[in-house]
Amino acid sequence: MSKVLSKRFVSLLVTLFGLTVVVFSIVHLLPGDPAQVMLGERATPSAVIQLREEMGLDRPLLLQYGSYLGKLLKGDLGRSLQTRQEISTIISEKFPATLELTAVALFFSILVGMSAGVFAASRRNSFFDSAVMIGALTGISMPIFWLALILLYVFGFQLNLFPITGRLPADLTFKPITYFILFDSLISGRLDVFCKALHHLILPALALSTIPMAIIARITRAAVIETLGEDFIRTARAKGLTEKVIVLKHALTTALIPILTVIGLQFGLLLGGAIITETIFAWPGMGTWLLSAVNSRDYPAVQGGVLAVGLAFSLVNLAVDLLYSAVDPRIRK
């Protein structure tokens, strides 16, 4: 196990190193003078020179990368050109919003996706099975930004069942601690805030969970069907176990390995999807912030945001890999 761990850790380090090179290059790959591009065509020459000096853009590339890496290790991501705030502070406020949205969406997709998949597999070729498969195919082909707009229109505007923007009502005063509002509201005993936050979360999380839900349903169905054809299931049947025990206890636990991998892979899909979903629901997370940074050419902010998402994504992938090898002894070899 330690061998697997160290091998995975080394490959993570290589990936992270590569990621810093990619993120560092963002500014340097811009066509023309980066300082001029960031400040726009109407910037005064003195402002351009000042920014160039501030970001050290006039120094040799390797030196720039060295000092970039040095600052990174100290947790210094620079300041946003737009708001002059520390980028690391912005990320510590925005990332929890995205993670909360992603986590709830993942929870929805696992709950619905796995249940639908198991049901469909245990009633193979039935009406229910076809309905799940058609539903899953529809989910996979659905542009989530369109679905999000429709949910917003139907449940937000027409039926007025859910709030349409943000994480909390504008008139509610609540000082977050970790910026995971669901968590913060619970530890500070504000159940009213918890309910409001959950109410705001449902529509965006539902929109975001569609594709992963469909993928999880498909893989669960396929994995359970495959396991149901194995010899040990025949033995279990011969022993007279009920179908429920066979499917849920024997088939599902064996089928869990591929399902787990796919669930892990969904995190990236969800993080990517969150960027788009957030803009629709004005969700104050990484996506909304990153896009506004891209549109206002705030490249230091873009760099910081991309690095943070990449780091989180790589860590989750590592966790999935390790979990995977812990569950399946064959992979450890």
């Binding site: 290589v14 195919l137 960027i275 549109n295 998402v309």
Partner: protein, 291 residues
Amino acid sequence: MIVHSLFGPEGEKLLKRFLRNKSALVGLAIVACFIATALLAALIAPHSPIEQILNDRLTPPVWLTHGNWSYPLGTDDLGRCILSRLIYGARISLMIGVFSVGASILLGLPLGLLAGYLGGWVDQVIMRIMDIMLALPAILLAIVIVAILGPDLKNAMIAIGIVNLPQYVRLMRALTLRERTKEYVQASRSIGSRPPRIMFKGILPNTLSPIIVQATMGIATAVLEAAALSFIGLGAQPPTPEWGAMLTDGKSYFIKGWWIMTWPGVAIFLTVLGFNLLGDGLRDALDPKSL
């Protein structure tokens, strides 16, 4: 008979398997309609996709009050015919699909072949670069690329091509590793064939089926990703009738004119569904074991 004489008994069996699969046929029909619409756009579109007739702005679809046959699916906030924009949009989506998947294949297959066949440091370098690309969610990497190159349709296509590259490299590498140990490759090596010949004339033709499946599904992904990029303003720019960009236009009008954002969404959904169904069907037909 024609199939038999053209592609031999294997091809005929494959076609039979494909034709028995109803959902694959539905996919094929959707894809055929989509391609025909894209190719014949200039002939079948009732209006110009960018002509603005402000007097007719926000005309509802024909079946609603105030709707008329001149604009079967209604008009947008600038009085442009939505049906015509959708029809021309098919052309843009087809172009995005073909070019970005084409770019991923053209770069991805040789890289995957080299990594799988040569192994060693070549493999290590190529696959580590792919790992780095995979360290970011696809849409974020695409946003970064477009943020560097500048937001327009061409750059969005390049971005999508690059973002999806690792999938093709990984697939081709895995297929090459499988083929490398087969007898025909060893035979070819023993008669002194050079590596490029073994890779491109020997291994590549034997790995085409999974690549065709991947490319078909890849078009679905490309259409979806391009629409997402245009939707957030980083892909096609106005007045290009791209489906994702049309959705953005409709976003601000969804109370006064729900149809503006409804039809582009339906078009994206159907196209992606069509390519997914076709891809699934092709996989089942090409690889009967997966059934």
